[in-house]
Symmetry: C2
Subunit: 196 residues, 2 copies
């Protein structure tokens, strides 16, 4: 088999959820039926790796020092909502119930996987939440065991620094991941959020 094809198949296996058979199928498909798509994906990967960094304020993916959301002056800068991922932030935005700012952990505490406070940027969160402007931090981590533990940890940490901390109401089904919950449920949970 052509060497570049082996290399491509191997590289495709770096994608999450792609095993050897589907990597081979993807490589054949691209070379046989969609070389334009392959070239486009090559450019997109290169560009994303070069251009995408983390927002200095909210830690989400951004191409500028500070992201558009953090720069938006119409937003309520006294509220800070903590989410696990950019996808969760998008879900909350879609509910139209929240007009404050965000902090994106890019993960959750997971001692079994070796993911500790450092890996989810808690130092950066403390600095952000203690800017003297933020008065309430809304914890919107997932309602899984790990998400709940993360919320508890952050809550203790921020309350120790005198901040008001709330948690989305348990309108979100227990064990549910925000990304897969309908916007209506999240909207209700946002309105019913409670102090922790």
């Amino acid at each position: 088999m052509a060497k570049s094809l082996d290399f491509l198949t191997e590289a495709l296996r770096r994608l999450p959820g792609v095993g050897p058979k589907s990597a081979q199928r993807m490589a054949f498909h691209l070379l046989q039926h969609d070389r334009e798509g392959a070239a486009m994906l090559s450019r997109a990967l290169y560009q994303a790796v070069e251009a995408v960094h983390h927002c200095a304020l909210c830690n989400t993916f951004a191409e500028t020092e500070v992201c558009d959301t953090c720069l938006d002056e119409r937003r309520d800068n006294t509220m800070l909502c903590v989410v696990e991922t950019p996808a969760d932030q998008l879900m909350i935005e879609q509910t139209l119930t929240y007009k404050g700012l965000y902090f994106v952990l890019m993960g959750r505490l997971s001692p079994l996987d070796g993911i500790g406070p450092k890996d989810i940027h808690l130092e950066k969160l403390i600095g952000r939440a203690a800017d003297g402007v933020v008065t309430e931090v809304v914890l919107a981590t997932n309602f899984t065991n790990e998400g709940e533990a993360t919320a508890h940890y952050i809550s203790e940490m921020l309350k120790a620094r005198g901040l008001k901390v709330s948690r989305l109401a348990r309108g979100v089904p227990v064990g549910g991941e925000l990304e897969y919950v309908d916007a209506g449920t999240i909207a209700r949970a946002m309105l019913d959020r409670r102090a922790t």
Copy 2:
């Protein structure tokens, strides 16, 4: 969301079997946890698109004018085995029952999908099979409806030109795709191949 990230998510959807949710998950994963993998995949795609073409003789993917298999002088050049894909060729190689050469259709006849004789390079196959050296063509297309129809079509076409044509014996389960059949079954089918 960062524009390069949107572009990357969109490009990942060009991969077969990847929907919007998994494209987003792949993009986040690469940027958050495996930028090295993303850069590697970018290079692999670029290199494959640039370097990989089709072997002038057997039509499989190759980086040279003629592939290594076709150039291998130890192989029996009087036998030509016709397969649908490079993966099928690999499966047959693994059985160690065949020492001849190959022709890779890179598809199968499928009138409903608009895939006709031209799309599976049958002119090239005729030229290859009628080189005056090949004495037997073994049809090893899949035992699906489309694979059987393709074998029948090719068989008639080559027999009209006076070539001896055989088909893998039906040791391969009906409806089965070679890529998923164990090597032992394919080995038996190769030994039991019959004239068509």
